[in-house]
């Protein structure tokens, strides 16, 4: 009887040991396979992005860090492959961003799982409860390229970008957002004019006829002048900053999406051009539209664009307005 | 059969059984007497091993089988009487071949019909009888009966008291907890009177009580405690 009891206890203990070993051995103490796939897919798109034409813009020039809240997993290109470095998170908050780490810029994005959870919560109760926001790999890849583009912008054109926003310090993101909401969104006339303008932008993105584009952009200029008369110079500069800097990054993001998920490109990016979104996000899409209009006018514009002036000024120059 | 020495039980700051000592001989019917809250049920629970004692000793012969009939029995309402007894027989590991016959016999003994009536349709008296029947499963040597006649009508009470008498004749040792002093006087051999966890007195049927009934002795002891 005593032997049986001892045998039972040994069996129970062994089961526990086996389970613990199993948990340890199968644990993922590195970046998930899914995130590695995202990185690899992003890098593979370089050839397609090269065709867009921004000079010397290479994603692999910048380390890409995936943050899971506990660690950063930094993908460092090494020849034709890469190695992964684990470190403590450099950001103490949840963000997808281009960030200066030591003496260089890095892309920092949350892991796909975290982004999916975040999108689930942002999508409302249904998606939060359902546990699936539908956030997929192509969206994550597009986000990586968006932030990668920012790294390239700040790395090469930091002074010009600073000039673009009039030298104002908009590092305090909340401040910029607050200003946009207060001066643009809460002013009905300004908001209505903006909406009118984006309708014209959207039409122009699908036009190949230069004369038609000219006609639309003349109307747009008129609307813009009316808006600027109602806005402080600082706000105008802020709008230029968002439209050109974020807009061009959004353009890169959209182009990635076009390669990976054309349906989403049509239903999300194109649809958002003339959607009125409160805050700075609306400029992402109007800026993207301006890049697409420039593509219709002269696809080589990217080779020489240095962020010293707003995108819309380049459009006016090309149209002789 | 059973000896309790200086039994003690404390709940929080209250001592509900305080140095209680008594012994029970083989084949006798032993009464536990006392008011509500005296410590009778706690003493029973300590003997049954349902409650850990905080002091004292319980000395019992090896291999003594115990049967227990609680005062407020609860059985699964969707079963019938036979099924309840079969349930407990199964737990007790009585072979199915033997238990079938025993169950029929026990139901008959306690005056219950072996029919399909569900427990939820049982009266208080029927539940009490069934509780008694399950206590008798496996032919226990020591029976502990907590208010076995509670809720029974006059005839029911008489039958149960007679049954206890028959069991005594068959050599069973019984501990009886009851408020009905006349039943105790009729069927018990000895007993103790407990009050506030303390032993207030003893009672032995064989001893001379100089004309005093059990009720007189009880009142004397409990009344003395209250003073």
């Amino acid at each position: 009887m005593k032997k049986m009891i001892i045998a039972k206890k040994i069996v129970i203990l062994l089961i526990g040991i086996v389970l613990v070993i199993g948990v340890i051995l199968t644990g993922n103490y590195s970046l998930s396979a899914e995130d590695k796939e995202c990185y690899e897919s992003a890098v593979k798109l370089q050839e397609n992005i090269d065709k867009i034409g921004f000079k010397n813009f290479k994603l692999t020039d910048y380390p890409i860090a995936f943050c899971d809240g506990k660690h950063d997993y930094v993908m460092i290109p090494s020849g034709s492959s890469y190695c992964i470095q684990k470190r403590k998170p450099v950001l103490d908050t949840f963000a997808a961003t281009a960030y200066e780490v030591n003496d260089h810029y890095e892309v920092i994005v949350p892991t796909k799982e975290l982004m999916s959870s975040f999108m689930g919560v942002a999508g409302g109760m249904e998606t939060a409860v359902a546990g699936d926001s539908g956030y997929n790999q192509s969206e994550q890849v597009a986000t990586i390229w968006h932030e990668g583009f920012h790294c390239w912008q700040f790395d090469n054109f930091e002074d010009n970008i600073s000039e673009l926003n009039g030298g104002h310090d908009f590092d305090e993101e909340d401040y910029g957002e607050e200003l946009i909401v207060k001066e643009c969104d809460e002013n009905d006339k300004v908001a209505a004019l903006y909406k009118e303008g984006t309708e014209l932008l959207k039409k122009a993105t699908t036009q190949n006829d230069k004369e038609e584009i000219r006609r639309l952009m003349l109307q747009y200029k008129d609307i813009q002048e009316k808006r600027n008369a109602l806005l402080d110079e600082m706000v105008q500069k802020l709008e230029d900053f968002y439209t050109s800097v974020e807009g061009s990054a959004c353009y890169i993001e959209a182009m990635c999406c076009k390669y990976l998920d054309k349906k989403r490109f049509e239903s999300y990016y194109m649809e958002n051009i003339n959607s009125y979104i409160k805050g700075s996000s609306k400029y992402y899409y109007s800026g993207m539209a301006q890049c697409m209009i420039l593509d219709n006018l002269d696809s080589t514009w990217k080779a020489s664009y240095d962020f010293s002036q707003p995108l819309i000024n380049i459009i006016y120059k090309k149209l002789g307005i | 059969m059973l000896e309790c020495k200086n039994l003690k039980k404390i709940y929080g700051k209250k001592c509900v059984v305080n140095n209680l000592s008594f012994s029970i001989n083989n084949g006798e019917v032993f009464a536990l007497l006392g008011s509500n809250g005296a410590g009778k049920t706690t003493t029973i629970k300590m003997i049954l091993g349902l409650t850990k004692k905080d002091g004292g000793e319980i000395i019992m012969h090896d291999g003594v089988k115990i049967g227990y009939s609680p005062d407020t029995p609860y059985f699964p309402p969707f079963l019938n009487g036979s099924e309840v007894l079969s349930y407990y027989a199964d737990i007790q590991k009585i072979p199915k071949k033997e238990s079938g016959e025993e169950i029929a016999k026990l139901l008959n003994t306690v005056g219950l019909e072996e029919d399909k009536t569900k427990i939820k349709n049982y009266s208080k008296g029927m539940l009490q009888r069934l509780a008694f029947a399950q206590a008798l499963l496996g032919s226990p040597d020591l029976l502990i009966l907590d208010e076995p006649t509670a809720g029974l009508d006059v005839m029911g009470r008489i039958e149960i008291i007679k049954l206890i008498g028959r069991l005594k004749e068959a050599g069973k040792t019984i501990i009886l907890n009851s408020h009905i002093l006349s039943d105790i006087e009729q069927v018990c051999d000895r007993g103790i009177i407990i009050g506030n966890g303390n032993l207030l007195g003893t009672w032995d049927k064989k001893e001379e009580h100089y004309g005093k009934s059990l009720q007189d002795i009880f009142i004397e002891r409990i009344g003395g405690m209250r003073e």
Partner: protein, 251 residues
Amino acid sequence: MIIAVTALKEKIRKKVFYIVSILGILILVLFSTGTGTISINGEEITDYKLLSPILLNIINAISCVMAVVLSLNTIPDEYERKTSHLVLIREVSQRTYHAWLTAANIMASLLAELILFVSFLIFMAAKNHGGDMWKLLPAFFISAVGVILVCVMTSWLSIVLPKIVAGTLSVILVLAGVFYNLLELLNSIVGGFGGKLLKGILHIVPNLHGIQGQAGEFLVNNRVDVHLLLTGLLWIYVFVIALGLFRRKEV
């Protein structure tokens, strides 16, 4: 075994079992017939590959809540009604008694989950994915890991804590486990003391979302994370040991 079977029979006669089962079936039938919809970013989700993991998540959440409801009162009621007395005096140890009652909790909860999975069968048939029906059985067993975990956890809590406290704690742990992914997200956003607190909470809450989510992954031919399943089994093991170690002092 008879203790478990009798306790199970008592459970499936309870109204709450039928109410929650019917509720769960209704939800699933609604979605499979297209009457109810789930939308993400304003877009209605009708595609089987997207909808099935979501519906499985819903089944899992309902199953876990049912597991708490079915497990919470079993052991305390036995002591309150003193039915435990008549079992424990028959040389059945408390450990054995609790184990069989917990087994009854598990069987009842799995039965409820099975009913919900049968409703999912209807959904699969409605979406013309009858060929994948065989996958439901392994998916059920994967999901069952979470349900068993909740049963064992709740049963143990019901022994060591008063009913109301055990019930509240069980519900909190289950909800935290079902929304584990959101807690992880919050952990990545919140810093300072709040972040440390969340980190601590994440260590003591079983990742029900992750564990049961593997059923959905299996169903749509994605890779199943064995680590999460093994972690779930380890949690079960820990709670089973706890069940055996903790006794009720007063019976």
